[in-house]
Amino acid sequence: MSLVLVFEQVLNGLQFGIMLFLMAAGLTLIFGVMGLINLAHGSLYMVGAFAAAAVAGATGSFVLALLAALAAAAMAGAIVELAVIRRLYDRDHLDQVLATFALILIFSEGTRWIFGSFPLFLDIPTYLRGPVTLPGGIQYPLYRIALIVIGLIVAAGLGLMIARTRIGIQIRAGENDREMIAALGVDISKLYTLVFALGAALAGFAGALVGAIQSVQVGMGEPVLILAFVVIVVGGIGSIKGALVGSLLVGLTDTLGGVFLPRILNAFMDVSSAANIGSSIASMAIYILMGAVLIWRPTGLFGARL
C-alpha cells in the first residue's frame, strides 16, 4: 500500500474526528457544567442539518444555511433547556437518560411530521466543490479540508473562550464548584441555558456541515450521538481537551481500522473472508477501544481521578 493512501486515510480520520469533536464538545460541556447526560444531543444535530437544508433550498446560500443551522439548533436547545432540561439537573442519571430519550422520540417524529419522510437535499457550495492537490500529489476534496480547518478554528475558539473570557471562567467555576459560582453572584440558571444553547449550536453546526456531504434525514443524529458518547467517555467526561483527543482517537480508529484490518487479515486468509471478518472487527473497533480505555483508566484519558 502506498504511503500516499495511508496519508490520505489519516486525513480522513482527522476530518471525521474533528466533526465528532463538534458534537462531543457540546456534550462534554453540558455534562461538565450541569452534570447532565443528554441523549437528545443527536436530535440537535439533526435540527441543524434540517434547518440548513431548508434555508439552502430557499435562498441558495450555504453561509446563510450554516447561520440558520446555528440559530435553529441554539434556539431549539434553549427552548428544550427552559422547558425540560432544567428540571433534570438535580435528578439522577437515570431520569436524565429517560427524559432525553423521550426528547429523541419527540424530535425525530416531529421533524418527520414537518419535513416528510424523504431525505432532504443539502449540497456543498460551488466554491468548495471538487478536489485540490496536496503536496505529494494527493487529490483531496476541498470541502473536507475546509471541514478540518473550520473544526480546528472552532476548537481553538472554544479553548480560548474557556480559558480567557468571563463566561469561560464561569463555566470552569461551574465545573468545579456549583455553590461557589452561585456565591460569585452569577445567575446560574442563565449560565446553564447559555451553555446548553452553545452545545446545541455546536451540534447543529456539525449537522449542517456534515449534512452537505451526507444525507439529511430523520434519525441521522443517533449514530453520531453514540459515537460522540464514546468520544467523551474515552477522553474523560467534562474535559474539552479530552473531547478533542478522544474525537481524533475515535475518528482515526474507525477510519484506519476499516481500511487496514481487512488488509492485515489478508495476510492470513483469502480476500473475501478477510474483507468479511476484517470489517466485522472494524465495526466493533471503537467500542473495543472504549472498553480498553475504561478498563485501563476508569474515568477516561483526561477525566477527573476519583
Binding site: 480522513n12 480520520g13 476530518q15 476499516g258 481500511v259 480476500v271 465495526s283
Partner: protein
C-alpha cells in the same frame, strides 16, 4: 396526501361495514409496511401505489388493513400475528425490508395465508425456502445487481471496484454482481451498515486503478456516498441498483447522481399503456412522481385483483393458480412468474437525468432480458 389515503381506507372500511351481509365474499388484505422512522418513504410509496390500484379497480369488496412496522422485525412479527389471528386477513403484503420479510413470510405462509411481496426478495425464499403461497411481485434481491454486472460487461468495464454494507443483502449484492460481471474485480469492500462517511472507501477506489465502480448502499448511505464521491475528484463511471437513484431519494442526492447508470425493472418512461396511465394518475392523486416502490405496490395490487377476478381466496388452489398466471397489465410490460413464484422480467439500465428542476431517470437499454433468478433450481414446490 396522507389524509387522502386515510380517507380512502376509511371509505373502504365503511363500505365493508355496510356490506356486512355479504361479508364472506369480501377479501381482507393485511399490509404491514414501514410508515414511520428512517425508511418510511419506501413504505409510503408502496402503500400509495397499492391503494391507487385498489381505488382504480372500483371494487368495494377488498378491505385493506394497514399497519406500521417501524422497520422493526419484532413489531412486524407481532403485526403479522395480529393480521392472522385478530383481523383474520386472507392475503398479506407490504413488507419493504428483507430482514423483516424473513421474519414474517415463512410463518404466515405456513399458516396458509398468501403473501405477495411488493419489495423484498431474500434468496432463501426464492430457493430452498420457497413456498407455494409466497409470490414475489418485485424481484429477487440479486436481480438488479446481476443486471448491473451484465451492464458493465456491455459498457466494456474491465476492472470494477465493488462495495456494499456488511450485512446479508450487501453480500448478496456483491455476489449477484460478480455472477454476471466478466471483468476483473479491482477491490471488494464491506462497509459498516449505516455508515455515513465514505472518504476512506473513496480513497481506496482512487488507489485501486479500477475503471468503474459498482455499489449497493441503500437509503441514506447511498446519498452520502454519492455526494462524497462527486466531490472527491474520482470520476470513474458508477453503476448501481435503482435503490439509490429512485424518485424519492434522487432529489436529495442532486447533481452528484447525474449521468449515473442504474438498473431497474421499471422506469416511468417504459413504453406501455398501463405505465403511462399509472404515472399520470399517481401524479394526479398524490402530486409527486411515482417511484420504483410505488410501481411495485401498484403491480402487487393489480396482481391481486386479477386473481380475485378469477377465483375466490377461500379456494386456495384456484386462487394460487390465478396468481401464478399473473394475468394483469403490469407497469413493466411483460411480467410472468417462474416456477419459484418470482418474476421473469426484463431489467433495464437507466441513466439519471435532469428534467427541468427535477432529477429523474431515462431508460437506456435492456440489461438482462426475461431474467429469472439463480435460486429457482433449489426451489422444490
Amino acid at each position: 396526501m396522507n389524509k387522502k389515503i386515510l380517507a380512502l381506507s376509511t371509505a373502504l372500511l365503511a363500505a365493508v361495514g355496510m356490506n356486512m351481509g355479504a361479508a364472506q365474499a369480501d377479501t381482507k388484505v393485511g399490509m404491514i409496511t414501514t410508515l414511520s422512522g428512517g425508511g418510511a418513504g419506501l413504505g409510503i410509496d408502496v402503500r400509495d401505489g397499492f391503494m391507487l390500484a385498489i381505488k382504480q379497480s372500483g371494487r368495494d369488496d377488498i378491505e385493506v388493513v394497514i399497519e406500521d412496522d417501524q422497520r422493526k422485525p419484532d413489531v412486524a412479527v407481532s403485526l403479522a400475528d395480529k393480521m392472522v389471528q385478530s383481523e383474520k386477513v386472507d392475503v398479506l403484503t407490504g413488507i419493504i425490508w428483507s430482514n423483516l420479510a424473513m421474519a414474517v413470510v415463512p410463518s404466515v405462509t405456513a399458516q396458509g395465508k398468501f403473501y405477495l411481496s411488493p419489495n423484498a426478495g431474500p434468496s432463501p425464499l426464492a430457493g430452498k425456502g420457497c413456498h407455494m403461497n409466497y409470490f414475489n411481485v418485485a424481484w429477487q434481491n440479486d436481480n438488479l445487481h446481476e443486471a448491473a454486472g451484465a451492464y458493465s460487461n456491455d459498457a466494456g468495464y474491465k476492472k470494477t471496484f465493488i462495495l456494499a454494507p456488511n450485512y446479508p443483502a450487501g453480500k448478496d449484492a456483491l455476489t449477484g454482481f460478480k455472477r454476471f460481471h466478466k471483468g476483473e474485480i479491482a477491490g471488494e469492500l464491506f462497509t459498516k451498515l449505516g455508515q455515513t462517511d465514505y472518504a476512506a472507501e473513496i480513497a481506496q477506489i482512487r488507489a485501486s486503478g479500477a475503471d468503474s465502480v459498482f455499489f449497493f448502499l441503500p437509503g441514506g448511505m447511498g446519498i452520502a456516498f454519492l455526494k462524497q464521491y462527486g466531490g472527491s475528484g474520482v470520476d470513474l463511471p458508477v453503476v448501481g441498483p435503482a435503490f439509490s437513484f429512485d424518485q424519492g431519494i434522487l432529489q436529495a442526492v442532486g447533481e452528484a447522481a447525474l449521468g449515473v447508470v442504474n438498473t431497474s425493472q421499471w422506469n416511468k418512461d417504459l413504453d406501455n399503456e398501463t405505465n403511462a396511465a399509472f404515472v399520470k394518475s399517481f401524479q394526479a392523486e398524490y402530486g409527486r412522481l411515482p417511484s420504483l416502490y410505488a410501481s411495485q405496490g401498484f403491480d402487487t395490487a393489480n396482481l391481486l385483483i386479477s386473481a380475485l377476478d378469477k377465483a375466490d381466496v377461500s379456494d386456495a388452489d384456484a386462487f394460487r393458480a390465478a396468481l401464478k398466471a399473473a394475468d394483469f397489465n403490469s407497469t413493466r410490460g411483460d411480467f410472468k412468474f417462474g416456477d419459484n413464484h418470482h418474476p421473469i422480467q426484463n431489467i433495464y439500465a437507466r441513466e439519471v437525468i435532469k428534467e427541468g428542476d427535477v432529477f429523474t431517470n431515462k431508460t437506456l437499454s435492456v440489461a438482462l432480458e426475461n431474467h429469472s433468478d439463480a435460486y429457482a433450481a433449489d426451489c422444490k414446490m
